[in-house]
């Protein structure tokens, strides 16, 4: 049997077994899921070794001359310390490595949130109000109205998430002032519309995946039938 056909048959049966989940959870599906987790973990381990550790740690440590080595020794040591996480007794030795990882990660999250999303979205929200450069040949009134609706929607959606509330007795949850409740309600409308649109998008993507899989099954069966 040609290796390509073998691979195709493997893909064919895997597709059928996974789609059998539509009929309910079953032993074959669970078996396939476990195999899948194992294979993806194996593939990831190989990729991490060849594309992360080898080029970023091991090779530089072996090739880079002494002065520059120190730069690679630190992550190597931290990496070795991280291996102690496998031992419940010695796992604390890996904490500094995790601390560095977490600190850098937090910084990346903060930097991205500020320069990327905050500034990006604010400039995006106010850009329709640039009446000087009306896009697409549309009238400036349409653009302004559109901008106002979107800005209003954005502001109200933001207001919906306001957490503060009036303290009632000793409870830590209370009601919000009307000044916030009204925009919050309007914000809910926009959020519901957005979630609905996103849901349709997710359904569309998932349906596309299903169609592609079913088309694959047909393509495999067709030659066998004819």
């Amino acid at each position: 049997m040609a290796p390509d056909l073998l691979w195709t048959l493997i893909a064919f049966f895997l597709t059928i077994l996974v789609l059998s989940y539509v009929l309910g959870d079953n032993a074959l599906f669970r078996f396939i899921m476990m195999v899948f987790v194992g294979i993806s973990a194996g593939y990831a381990a190989v990729l991490i070794y060849y594309q992360v550790l080898l080029p970023r740690l091991i090779i530089p440590l072996m090739t880079v001359p002494a002065p520059g080595k120190a730069v690679f020794i630190i992550p190597a040591v931290l990496g070795i310390l991280l291996l102690f996480k496998l031992s419940p007794r010695l796992s604390a030795l890996g904490n500094p490595s995790m601390a560095l990882l977490t600190g850098v990660g937090a910084a990346v999250a903060v930097g991205g949130a500020v320069t990327g999303t905050l500034f990006g979205q604010i400039s995006g929200a106010i850009s329709p109000f640039d009446l000087a450069g009306v896009q697409g040949g549309g009238s400036w009134i349409t653009q302004l109205l559109g901008g106002i609706v979107l800005l209003g929607g954005t502001v109200c959606s933001l207001a919906y998430f306001h957490f503060g509330a009036r303290k009632k007795d000793d409870e830590n949850t209370g009601s919000q002032p009307v000044l916030i409740q009204i925009p919050a309600r309007i914000g809910q409308v926009f959020i519901a519309i957005t979630l609905g649109a996103l849901f349709a998008g997710v359904l569309s993507a998932a349906l596309a995946a299903l169609i592609e899989r079913l088309a694959f099954l047909i393509n495999v069966i067709k030659p066998l039938i004819s």
């Binding site: 539509v22 990729l47 990346v108 979205q121 993507a205 596309a208 169609i211």
Partner: protein, 723 residues
Amino acid sequence: MSEIICPFCGAENPIEAVACFNCKKQLYDDVDPDASPPPRDEMEWLKDFRGFADDRSAGTIKATEADQSSETGETTTGDEESDVPEWLARIRALKEDETPAPAEEEPVEPEELPAYLGNEAELPDWIKEIKQGDVPQPLEEAGGDMPEWLKNMAGPDELPAAEDITPDLSMISPESGAEGGIQLPDIPYDLPGEEPAEVDLGQFTPLTDDTVDEAVDIPDDLFEAIASQPEPEQPPEPTSAESQDDLDWLDTDITQPEPTEIKEEQLTDSGDLPEWMFEPAETEADTVPEPGELDFTTLDASLAAIDGENMPAAQSEAALPDWLLEDEAENFANQAEFQSEGAPNLEVGEMPGWLHAMRPLEAAAPELASPMDENRVEPTGPLAGYQGLLPGEGVVTQYSRPPVYSARMQVTDKQRIYATLFETLIVDETRVGAPPAEKSTTPQLVLRMSVGLVLIGVILMALIFNPGLAASPTLVPPESVVFYDTLQNLTAAATPPRVLVGLDYEPSLSGELSTIAASVVEDWMAGNSGLAFVSLNLSGPALADDLVNKAGARVPAYLAAERVINLGYLPGGATALAALAADPTRAAPASVDGIQAWNSLLLQGMVAVSDFDAIVLLTDNTENTRAWIEQVKPAVGSTPLLVVSSAQAAPALQPYVQSGQISGMISGFTGGAAYEQLTQAQNGSIRSYWDAYQAGMLLIAAFMLLGSLGFGIMNIFRRTKKA
């Protein structure tokens, strides 16, 4: 009418019978066959009563002594109140008031004792009497023929030394015992009959060597005293130290009214009690504490606390262990018998009518029904020869019907109304509702299965027959138009463009994205563009190769080996992108094949991301696209960022499109189909799926509409039902 069952032949005899009419045997062990039986109405109840007195502890002796005095004609005290027995006071109280005093109604609750002590108004009559100071009086009167040791116990300040007391105990005469007994309050009269049983246990505990050793040092003369006791199994009396401890223990009882605590204190503190008293108590410690005995000690203590002048009596009584009080009671019993036997001609004391009238009431109480003679010797059975055993058959013969008391509760109308109100309040709580039906997942599974099968069936039909009914989209979103224009402009340029392609979709969505991206990559290939693939996910490099192979197969003229380089996987997500934006040659130095990418023909001379003519992002997730926009876009300046996105990410990416951070975008099958319309591609890959896609989308919409309507209407009905 009660009957007596013969313990020997089981024949029933009338209650007044002394000997069984059937077997002619004595029905009572404690009746001397030689002695002429006294008239029933005089002696029978007295015998019972004496028996009762025998098994009562010291308190009862007051009543016994009163009877005896009625026989001997001896008056105890001049105080009228004092010679009225407590039970008589109770009967009077009963006559006066329908509701009996709690002390007589039920055994004294230890918890209530402090209240008793604290609140004088609630004190039972007997305690009031003591408080009136009529108890010490007999002590003074009896002082004449009081033994020396008892005189010494006049007051707490004159407490005699232990060695003075201990030997004299052996010389206690019935009289002195009686005198001593007189001081004792009649508390045990109200106590259940189990209490003496416990005392018996104490008496029957064998005095082993261990116990002797463990006991607080017992002087030799104490053993002589034991030997001089009428019963050989009488335990040794406490030493002076113990009696002193007893006094302390009395005091502590006030502060610790809890019966169990008191008992434990007695049990645990071996200094308080000698070992022989300690052990049996231990055996009973496991059983439910007997309020009787505990009340006794506690109340003694309360006596001590109530009035300072009562101390002598309390102390003298407390100084004497239970078994000694028992012994005094026996002496009375023996004396009474002795008198009845030794002086048959003596005129029998007249039984007062009131005493006779109340006797059935006494007989009714179970403890009164069992006369126990400590002198009786077991005639038969394995315990033959033992003295002071509980007479089983004797008890059998003494059963009598308990009196019937009215159980009717007298409540006022107001109380009844409150009760009814309360009942209505709790009726819902007490009603057992039907258990909530367990949520069944079967309908959901059936719905899931049927929806899945229908959807798959419809898609399969559309794929197999491909009717071509679905019209290609003519509405093309502006961002797709920008995408198309940018691509066309770049590929139309004199020098083929070099494009950085970020492959950032998971295998799960490769069905959608590889299909859309294939036509885009084909167009880049058609313009002989140089493509450098970089991926943010692990499967990316493999998916990139697969995409290039698929697209390259449709553009035979394109030399993929020269024009395409796969920079592989960029670990670190946003940080890797930041590194890529800062210095691509360091972030992705080599290709997946291990070639130094930036020295290759394709990427030669490139040092920054901005050197690329365009950045094309094939993505299925918003976050990584955001990372590209946040980290890479600022570094590339005017270089266009074109996005081919999955339909699931498109709405979330719209803000970035509108803000101009994304130059152009194709999203989902719809965007892909629109792009194919723009490129006029004849056999685009999306076209083959279009019918199935549109049918599937409309079917899902129909399902959703039907489901929403159905469940929405059901909800409305449910609400109206509730209303």
